[in-house]
């Protein structure tokens, strides 16, 4: 690298290309790894080119800009969050299958280099937590929560755009790292001193730091946005004890985001100071202390797992109650349990490092605190089962996911209690037992929840139902695939196989790793089923259309509006008289009434802030990773200028005339009157236009 290009490219040179190493040292293993890495890189490049060509070909740039990228509408931002999550899910699942392949053939070597394997488990974990789970649940809350509490948008729509922009930037950085490699090999937890400058001076860890930091900032802002919205924007009459349970879990998740993200910001920022400015916070020499990082990371990390799981609990609560046709059993207990989990989650982080060397009494305190969380979670499980008890259950796709969750999550919880005993933890610490445990919580918990939520609310967002047959196949494949892929890992952990192992020398592991590979293949099939389900649903969208908007005889306010909902959500803000607000209206025959008047509606105007943050965020992270300081300064300058300019902006709203709203709403109401209602038993047939048979007067729902 000569000096003339150094200022431009920093430390970026040809060796960052994924096949460079194989060209220099063409051993068989290196070539195989280069083919895999280059294949992934070319998928990213070709995918990007295909999107650009597709948009240009269909002349949709303007549409994309106006309708999506600059839209402050919480519904569209939610959909974009979820789309991003699904793309990242696809990548991370493929990586998981590669890792299972490696371990299935890993006796005495396998086919991946240790470095490549390290990048795989690091990106898999980082993506699944920060760029699949977080955007998925953020998108879900974004879409559903404002509809459930009866408001038109979040409190800070532009900040919502910025949240999306920052997460997208972080995801973009992880994707770019496939083309201009490497990514970190330090695992999603990134412990120093391995990730310090002395042991790991390359670009990989820097990619990881900035991707994670972008995601953290995004989540903090989302948390603030959600919490303020739920505090300040509930429809009149929507008191705390009338909130739908999904909104309750959204609030608790938001509070956790606000208070649990700062430790991670501190941890990654201090690690960055160590790496860039030669600080000695986590180094092995000069008075540094790497254990401080572990402590900070898990002070974030444990509340984080409840950030991930609580919204899924909320979704399951809605699913159980809707498809059992009953009001939730023990609503207050569920709310209290959610709050208890949220607070307790701050008191247990040490159980992630029982083996670090602190006294037994500290381990005991945190071990007991950990087991205590089992109590409110148990309360929830019983409440859900009692909700199902004597209900007329319809086994729809969300219910299949929910049933899988109920059984598998309890198993995962029990292994968690086992791990919470410090003396047991000493035996299985850092083994595959742990990997099995947290996948057992996160796949049946979080992922099944999100997929159930997608099947549940998809018709609301797009106006047609997702096809059920392929949906069922996907759900069963997920459940079976999960069990085959992860139950063997419990056995492997007890047998003593460490996590993140690229190769092993114990033949006894082999039957288990092969079984796990079969499971991973079935999970891959499940992913394929999801894609086919989406494809078939879009193809048959007219057959499965349900413009009226209430396909499952829903209970909360989001089902009271058309599908897809108008951009202002509600022509007039609804008034709430009780829990299960919309079901109450239907019971009293008060649903679908004509409002007395249609006032003008003020909505936030479009803004390019989200796009600006996405672009400058990506540029800043990329520049910092490769030491391209001009890019960092430029991006930082543009960001600052944009924020200041935004402060001077005064035309931040636009007004929709009441007349227009009236026309749209009356057209929809006429459609409601002209539609034949469908009984619950026929809701999965093409008769379902989104209008359920009204409940019998006086019957208990």
């Amino acid at each position: 690298m000569n000096d003339s290009t150094h200022w431009l490219l920093g430390r970026l040179d040809a060796s960052a290309l994924p096949f460079w190493d194989a060209l220099q040292h063409p051993t068989t293993k290196n070539v195989i790894n280069a083919v895999i890495a280059s294949g992934a890189a070319s998928m990213v490049v070709l995918g990007a080119i295909a999107v650009v060509i597709g948009l240009t070909w269909t002349r949709r740039w303007g549409w994309l800009w106006r309708e999506w990228l600059t839209s402050p509408d919480h519904k569209k931002i939610g959909i974009m969050f979820i789309a991003l999550a699904l793309v990242m899910l696809a990548r991370a699942v493929i990586e998981a299958v590669l890792m299972r392949l490696q371990q299935a053939f890993g006796l005495d070597g396998g086919f991946l280099t240790a470095d490549h394997f390290g990048q795989l488990f690091t990106t898999h974990g980082t993506i699944m937590v920060f760029f699949m789970a977080m955007p998925f649940l953020t998108g879900m809350i974004n879409y559903v929560m404002p509809l459930q509490i009866g408001t038109r948008d979040l409190s800070f729509p532009v900040m919502n755009q910025i949240s999306l922009g920052l997460t997208a930037a972080g995801a973009a950085v992880v994707m770019i790292s496939l083309v201009l490699a490497p990514f970190s090999t330090g695992g999603w937890t990134g412990y120093p001193t391995f990730t310090g400058h002395a042991a790991n001076p390359g670009a990989g860890v820097d990619y990881w730091i900035w991707a994670v930091t972008l995601s953290t900032l995004s989540s903090t802002l989302s948390g603030i946005n959600f919490a303020v919205t739920i505090y300040k924007r509930r429809a009149p009459g929507m008191s705390w004890m009338r909130l739908p349970l999904f909104t309750w879990t959204a609030l608790c998740t938001a509070i956790l985001m606000i208070f649990a993200m700062p430790p991670l910001t501190v941890a990654t920022a201090l690690l960055a100071l160590d790496r860039y400015l030669d600080f000695h916070l986590f180094t092995a020499d000069m008075g540094g202390n790497m254990m401080n990082y572990i402590n900070l990371f898990w002070a974030f990390g444990h509340p984080e797992v409840y950030i991930l799981i609580l919204p899924a609990f909320g979704i399951f609560s809605e699913v159980f109650s809707t498809f059992a046709g009953k009001t939730l059993y023990g609503y207050k207990a569920l709310v209290i349990a959610t709050l208890a989990i949220a607070v307790l989650s701050f008191t247990v982080w040490l159980h992630h490092f029982f083996t670090m060397g602190q006294s037994a009494h500290i381990n005991a305190v945190f071990g007991i605190a950990t087991m205590l969380i089992g109590i409110p979670t148990g309360v929830k499980i019983y409440d859900w089962m009692l909700t199902l008890f004597r209900g007329r259950i319809r086994m729809s796709v969300p219910m299949i996911y929910a049933s899988g969750f109920l059984m598998l999550f309890v198993l995962g919880g029990l292994t968690g209690i086992v791990l919470a005993v410090p003396s047991v933890d000493y035996q299985v610490h850092n083994s595959l037992f742990l990997v099995a445990h947290f996948h057992n919580m996160l796949i049946p918990g979080l992922l099944f929840g999100m997929l159930a939520g997608t099947n549940f609310w998809f018709p609301k967002a797009f106006g047609f139902r997702l096809e059920e047959r392929w949906g069922r196949r996907a759900a069963y494949a997920w459940i079976i695939g999960f069990m085959l892929a992860f139950f063997p890992l419990y056995a492997l952990g007890v047998l003593g196989m460490p996590r993140r192992t690229v190769a092993f020398f114990t033949p006894a592991y082999l039957p288990w790793t092969l079984t796990a590979l079969v499971g991973a293949t079935i999970v891959l099939l499940a992913m394929a089923c999801l894609v086919i389900q989406l494809w078939v649903s879009v193809r048959d969208r007219h057959l499965n259309a349900m413009p009226i908007g209430d396909p499952w005889d829903g209970r909360s306010l989001e089902w009271a509006v058309s599908s897809p909902p108008p951009e202002y959500n509600f022509p007039v803000i609804p008034e709430v008289y009780g829990r299960d607000a919309f079901m109450l209206e239907k019971e009293r025959g008060k649903a679908y009434q004509v409002p007395d008047e249609f006032p003008d509606i003020v909505l936030p105007a479009n803004s390019p802030m989200g796009v600006i943050f996405a672009v400058t965020g990506t540029a800043m992270a990329f520049g910092l990773t490769w030491y391209q300081w001009w890019m960092v300064l430029l991006a930082a300058g543009i960001t600052l200028a944009a924020v200041i300019a935004r402060g001077f902006c005064r035309n931040t709203t636009r007004t929709l005339s009441g007349e227009e709203v009236r026309r749209t709403h009356l057209t929809w109401l006429a459609q409601v009157r002209a539609t034949t209602p469908v009984a619950r038993s026929r809701e999965q047939s093409t008769d379902n236009r989104g209008l359920p048979v009204p409940p019998v007067e006086g019957a208990i729902q």
């Binding site: 409190s155 800070f156 603030i224 606000i258 600080f279 401080n292 200041i644």
Partner: protein, 217 residues
């Protein structure tokens, strides 16, 4: 579904909508968005508070990590710390006076006057802090010297960075005042900046007590 057209009208005589610093009844325009914005900003401040709290904790755990390098007694200067403390404390008071002018007066002159005084005090604080760091660097107190100094330089300059950002925000708001006058959005900005300014003074209490006085005691 009953129409509820105007849930937020007719609030005369009602108590202030949002707690803490507020503008009172004479500033009705933008009241609703102000309520959300101020509450949201408070929540953000509390998130920031956690960040500072953890850095304080880290600092305390790193006190022993001097690695044979200079310690607090070799590097800290009580007079400088006292001077910086006074600058920030007085600036907090002058911002309070600005808030009073914003709330009870129609003209901008007094408001702008107090804001300019506050800005000068803030910039003076940043300048003196930079000078203080420079002095520490000269005495061998650089962050790469030891874990203790690393912790110091990740805590105290972060506060200084916050003050710098607050100063930039103040300048931007003065610009908004010049361009748009004292409209609802400028007022929203000023009241949030007031919260930030007082909050930064609270963080500084922690810094001068724990870092400087604790280190020199």
């Amino acid at each position: 579904m009953t129409a509820l057209t105007s849930r937020h009208t007719d609030r005369a005589g009602a108590p202030a909508r949002h707690p803490g610093l507020n503008l009172g009844h004479a500033h009705r325009e933008g009241e609703e968005s102000r309520e959300e914005m101020v509450f949201g900003f408070w929540v953000f401040m509390m998130s920031d508070m956690i960040l500072f709290g953890l850095l304080f904790g880290t600092y305390v755990t790193m006190l022993g990590g001097t690695a044979g390098g200079p310690g607090p007694k070799d590097l800290f200067d009580m007079r400088g710390a006292f001077f910086e403390t006074m600058l920030l404390l007085v600036s907090s008071f002058t911002f309070g006076m600005a808030s009073l002018a914003l709330k009870y007066r129609d003209d901008r002159r007094v408001l702008v006057g107090w804001l300019l005084v506050t800005l000068l005090l803030g910039l003076g604080f940043v300048a003196h802090e930079l000078y203080d760091f420079h002095r520490m660097f000269e005495a061998g107190g650089v962050p790469s010297r030891s874990g203790f100094l690393s912790a110091f330089f990740s805590l105290v300059p972060l506060h200084g960075l916050h003050v710098t950002v607050a100063c930039i925000w103040l300048i931007a708001l003065l610009g908004q005042l010049a361009v748009h006058g004292l409209d609802a959005q400028t007022k929203n900005g000023l009241i949030r900046l007031a919260i930030l300014w007082h909050f930064l003074d609270i963080v500084w209490i922690g810094i001068f007590s724990l870092v400087y006085l604790g280190g020199l005691a």
